[in-house]
């Protein structure tokens, strides 16, 4: 039975940031749409929906020698079970625990064939508590990872901070991940079209989602442990060399590269080559054709830990014609 893949939105964020409030807002405002909600067993607040599945976040390492290939087996099982139901869903919302690393959730949608056939990861939405965010960064790597992985950031509890503190929080978020869309809110009050149906993992929409994606980027956050980095070039890319370089890079550094995206001007190809990945897992294909008089340029973006900008730049330059 051929049916459209159900979009999955992952809601992440530190304890008390307002994830459940956002979840309940989506459910109460999306009239006429049906959602399956997967929440963690230790949720703080009740969720008001017909179908709420309690998940115990069961992360396991794939038995393929790749240490960063961790996935959520409970999600695989739950999605398989949901597909047995008669009623179909307009979407699935997954709420993670406050201390969850978003990596395994995201990788589940790259790894499992049954999950890929039934669903598509739409976006990772991170809710941030503006008042406590800077303190949470000190407490461990979770708050940092949740920002680094985000496609959309809901910067919440604005009523609890003054302008100076807010500016600090915003600067910090930008320093870690300037590619996520930030929406400033109180009580998780955000327009739903800002967080749903974003197609953030859709290769065809990488450009739509980030209109400034091809603008010249610069690496200006040397002091951050987790940061983003972009590399651009106007020269054509040799596809074989690129594949070899990227393969080796992810093999060695995949654990530290949280997200990567790219648009490549392949030598002699009429279309853009687009890819995006989570840790070592990658999805790639041909995008829209280059227009006749369009300047062909390539751009790669990495978000990760301890990224060596000079080394990455040199590596990419070796792949150019």
């Amino acid at each position: 039975m051929a049916q459209a893949q159900v979009p999955v939105t992952v809601l992440t964020g530190y304890l008390g940031a307002g994830k459940t409030t956002l979840l309940n807002r989506i459910l109460s405002e999306q009239h006429g749409k049906k959602y399956a909600v997967i929440v963690n067993e230790f949720g703080e607040l009740g969720v008001d929906n017909d179908l709420v599945v309690n998940a115990d976040e069961e992360v396991f390492e794939m038995n393929n020698g790749c240490i960063c290939c961790t996935v959520r087996g409970d999600l695989i099982r739950i999605i398989e079970g949901l597909m047995k139901r008669k009623e179909k869903f307009d979407g699935i919302l997954v709420e993670t625990t406050g201390l969850a690393d978003p990596g395994p959730v995201a990788q589940t949608f790259f790894t499992d064939d049954d999950v890929k056939a039934a669903t598509r990861l739409d976006a990772i939405v991170t809710v941030v508590d503006a008042k406590h965010f800077l303190g949470q960064l000190e407490q461990g790597s979770e708050a940092l990872q949740q920002i680094a992985f985000a496609d959309v950031i809901v910067l919440n509890k604005l009523d609890l901070v003054d302008a100076t503190d807010l500016a600090k929080v915003e600067a910090k978020i930008k320093a870690i991940n300037p590619y996520a869309r930030v929406h400033k809110t109180e009580k998780s009050k955000v327009e739903l079209d800002a967080i749903l149906d974003k197609g953030a993992f859709d290769l065809n929409r990488i450009l739509v989602f980030e209109p400034d994606f091809l603008e010249h980027g610069h690496d200006h956050n040397h002091e951050e442990e987790v940061k983003s980095l972009s590399i651009t070039s106007d020269r054509a890319v040799d596809p074989d060399k690129f594949q070899k370089w990227m393969g080796a890079l992810l093999q060695i550094k995949g654990g530290d590269i949280f997200r990567s995206k790219g648009i490549l001007a392949i030598d002699g190809a009429p279309k853009r080559y687009v890819y995006q990945g989570v840790h070592m897992m990658m999805d790639a294909g041909w995008g829209t054709p280059w227009k006749k008089d369009e300047k062909r340029a390539s751009k790669l973006v990495f978000i990760g830990r301890d990224l060596d900008g000079d080394n990455l730049k040199r590596g990419f330059e070796d792949c150019l014609k």
Binding site: V53, F60, N63, G73, R77, M83, K84, R85, K86, D113
Partner: protein, 348 residues
């Protein structure tokens, strides 16, 4: 029971089939222990019961017994009815009039795997990280917690032990009066299906990495079989325990377990190449036959002695989700993800 798959007349004569349709996916199917009734568990919470006699009028008893989807259904080993489980956290004993008695209720959890042991009348069920065993008298014992949610469950041949599959391998529990410490059988990764061999000597699992893993229970030694293009979610041991049939290939695939076992040997593959991959495989309960349902909806029956197969149902773009043989092996039941329920009488 004899299936004459080599005889063109047998192959081209359509078997007596009863087909019933629903608009909900069929999640599970099973025969009652006496073979008189077939049950189908559906994605809308209903269980449909039909007489196994295809000449009888199709008076289906349909009761919405579960609030969400039925996740598993087995013939009640302690009676002529059925035992069902669902994503509403209920484990139910179903009588033939459709009435249900609650065995367990674990609100908020899913009960998704069931196993039955005919001789002792016991039922095993997975509830999250725990395995429950319900004996003939209705007494419930709990085993676990396991390192993760239990994804496969089966009884030993004598019914004295159960094996539960989870992350990192399998745990074997003795469930009788004498309780021995649980025995771990380890292999890294997520194990998603489990079947104990019909002679009790081997436990086989399907893994997340598209492999199957088999342990010799007495020795705790293990082996790994690779080369599948998809996860092997369906495993079935032949009645004589000489073969382990596996899903996820376009033809019947059987690993040889007679004599020294399958180490260093390729699996036996036979039959007509079907449309797509086999999703469910079910060995005949007494003879050398095997049924295979495909992701294309095709249904075949094969004979490992003659290595022939015959198509019982053509592909139609709905996946076969479940298969069950009647206890004598005279009837075959199948369900699909678009709600088709089939009952085939294979006696000609």
């Amino acid at each position: 029971m004899k299936l004459d798959l080599g005889n063109p007349a047998w192959v081209t004569t359509l078997p007596a089939t009863r087909a019933v349709a629903s608009d909900a996916p069929v999640a599970a199917c099973a025969f009652s222990s006496n073979g008189a009734t077939v049950g189908f568990g559906l994605g809308d919470g209903q269980v449909r019961l039909l007489s196994a006699d295809v000449k009888q009028p199709a008076s289906a008893v349909a009761e919405p017994v579960h609030k969400g989807a039925v996740l598993s259904l087995i013939g009640d080993p302690a009676g002529d009815g059925f035992v069902s489980s669902g994503d509403d956290g209920r484990l139910l004993r179903l009588a033939l009039d459709g009435s249900a008695t609650e065995i367990a209720n674990q609100k908020g959890k899913w009960i998704d795997k069931l196993a039955a042991h005919r001789a002792t009348g016991a039922v095993a069920a997975s509830v999250g990280k725990m395995a429950l065993v319900v004996d003939k008298a209705g007494e419930i014992k709990e085993f676990g917690p396991h390192p993760s949610t239990v994804a496969g469950l089966d009884f030993s041949k004598d019914g004295g032990r159960i094996a539960a599959a989870h992350y990192g391998g399998v745990t074997v529990w003795s469930i009788g009066a004498v309780t021995l410490p649980p025995k771990p059988l380890r292999w890294t990764g997520s194990h998603v299906a489990l079947k104990w061999s019909t002679d009790g000597k081997f436990i086989a699992t399907g893994t997340q990495e598209n492999d199957i893993h088999v342990w010799r229970v007495a020795q705790s030694t293990d082996m790994r079989m690779q080369g599948y293009p998809a996860k092997v979610k369906s495993l079935s041991w032949s009645a004589d325990a000489r073969w382990l049939y596996t899903s996820s290939q376009p033809v019947f695939t059987a690993w040889p377990f007679a004599g020294k076992g399958p180490e260093g040997k390729p699996p036996l593959q036979f039959g007509e190449e079907g449309a797509g991959l086999i999703t469910v495989v079910a060995a005949h309960p007494t003879a050398e036959y095997v049924a295979g349902g495909y992701d294309s909806g095709e249904l075949q029956v094969g004979d490992i002695k003659t290595r022939r197969s015959a198509v019982l149902k053509m592909s139609d773009d709905s996946s076969i989700t479940c298969l069950a043989w009647s206890p004598e092996g005279t009837h075959l039941a199948a369900g699909t993800d678009d709600g088709k329920m089939l009952l085939i009488d294979l006696r000609r």
